[in-house]
Amino acid sequence: MTFFAADVNELALGIFALVVAITLGITYWASKRVATATDFWAAGRGLTGVQNGFAIAGDYMSAASFLGIAGLIFLFGFDGFLYSVGFLVAFLTVLFLLGERMRNSGKYTIADVLSFRMKQRPARAAAALGTLAVAGFYLIAQMVGAGVLINALVGIGFELAVIITGAFMIIYIVAGGMLATSWVQIIKAILLMTATVVLTLFVLGEVGWNPVDLFREARAESPEGASYLQPGLFLSSPIDTVSLGIALVLGTAGLPHILMRFFTVPDAKAARSSVMWAVALIGAFYVMTTALGFGARAILGEGATEAVGTGGNLAAPLLAEEVGGGAGTVGGDLFLAIIAAVAFATILAVVAGLVISASGAVAHDVWSNIVRQGHDSEKEEVWVAKIAAFAIGAIAIAIAVIGGEGLNVSFMVGLAFAVAASAIFPALLLALTWRRFNTTGAVTGVLIGTFTSIALVIISPTVWPGPDAEGGLFSWYDLANPGIVSVPLGFIGCWLGTMLSREEVAARSFDELYVRSETGLGAETGTGLTLTGRRGAPRTAATAATTTIPHP
């Protein structure tokens, strides 16, 4: 095991250290302010819409977006940009169908909303299973990706890179909870947006400030010619393209670490405005992936295909080096180091968000509500949450190190989106909108959605027998993305389970959940902890009622 490769990039390491020092300072500051479970999981519900919008953007835009999409566009042209479109449009699903309703009817986890009118233990267990599946697949993919990228960009060995990433992630959460996580995500969003804007301006400057020239030069640099600017080079099966689209546009609305962020704002209005801030930021970012990806093709050219790696992940950093002045120059080295540090911050913010959502599933859902059935103290709940975060982080590090850089992670992000779209999204949506829906329906829906997604990904030709094999395991199934099959199956599971069982309570308490989720009546209030750390007078139920309801 070599910890340091020969060519450690000291400049990048120095900027890494700076980013880490800032985030650790914030974590120390946050650790003094996190006392209650509401502080730990929901940052005291004291974030403003703008702050939460930045944090959602920081939570959502992973290194897969930043480096992966730029790489896909560099290698395959238009098809890479299809991901950018899907990742953004998905936020309309969140805005219209789930965001505000989650805020109005939930507390810390998606299980709070799913189990509101159902039998607590089975419904929470199902939601926790879905959460852990999504967060687990996503987390391992991110950890392995982090190791590979940091190794390539900074020259630290793969194992050490994974351990460092995991260690910081654990420190943020155990010490600073959601407050530290939110600030890490906000800072990351600012860093990522700034770096992307600067890189885009440099790229546009290179092509004479005419964006269309970007496409013309990219086309000229591609051996595919005109095909480079049209779909089909990466996603060659039409039905697979549609299937991917379904998973992207519905999966985001089922990602537990994104939905959890809505519990950090004081009310539904702030939840709504945070989605719009996130949409503005994320949209601007994904438009700029055009400049990163097509720019890398136009400026680096076909000759860089070897250097950008198999997934094209190094296209953006190499582009930064080139427009900064080229390899070996001060400008080139500095720009490369900055992009590397931004990529590192990006990974840290996403993995922290994933681990805190998984810790909520373990501590709040499984321990506090299923094992202890609500008889534990709040202090105990926070302690269990910290232990869970530590354990989840340690397990993720272990899997990533043991699996090694050869672990095929490209399908894992797709799997996370498939489970989110097929298991979590249908159950949550129906819990909030369908009166007849009940515990049996929720449990069957989540189980069918989760396991068909996993099974279909395993038998997809790229996973088993493997990417180089001819044809799939079964001749009748050759989809790489399971969404078009697994999402309908998830909904059918919910429907079938409901129809085959009878549960009076669920239908009767639907009225309560419905009125609460639409009006915000009785919604969880904050502890008065604001993001700047001031703790105001805690809002009691009575003051909340008087501020919402004017006395005639």
Partner: protein, 157 residues
């Protein structure tokens, strides 16, 4: 907090006095749902149709997507992709405006009516003075009641 919570309740502020079934049937709540559905259902159908139209074209008509649009190098596919961004920003902004101006005041009215019906069902729960109680006709759950159309709200963000 966790110790005192009943296992079936989702919120810390339980409002046991509210008759949720009546609240759900109140005209105020029905009006909120009607107005909200009138926006969200068509908007959702529209954005899904626009998005999947784009995806289906990308999958099944790659050559059409590669055709020149306005100027050389700018393809139909890229123009349609950009239209998705504009649609997302536009629909999101429209929803935000609609929610601030129409849905929020309606939601507050519905909440107000539910709370008041609950308070009247259990007098003394909210300490109300006698003239407050007599100064106004007791609203039947459901009867539209004149009142401030835009009540004060806690500032959200």
């Amino acid at each position: 907090m966790a110790a005192t919570e009943s296992p079936t309740a989702g919120g810390s502020d339980h409002h046991p006095e509210i008759d949720w079934v009546a609240a759900e049937r109140s005209p105020e709540f029905r009006e909120l749902i009607k107005r909200k559905r009138a926006f969200v259902v068509p908007a959702t159908i529209f954005f899904l149709a626009w998005y999947f139209g784009f995806i289906i074209l990308a999958g099944y008509a790659p050559d059409f997507m590669g055709e020149e649009f306005i100027t050389d190098g700018f393809t139909v596919g890229y123009a349609l992709a950009l239209s998705q961004f504009i649609m997302t920003w536009g629909l999101g902004w429209w929803y935000l405006r609609k929610a601030d101006r129409v849905f929020d005041p309606l939601a507050e009215r519905a909440a107000e009516v539910a709370l008041q019906a609950g308070a009247e069902a259990r007098p003394g729960r909210f300490e109300r003075t006698a003239d407050e109680r007599t100064g106004q006709a007791a609203p039947l759950p459901g009867a539209p009641r004149p009142g401030p159309s835009r009540p004060n709200r806690p500032s959200g963000s």
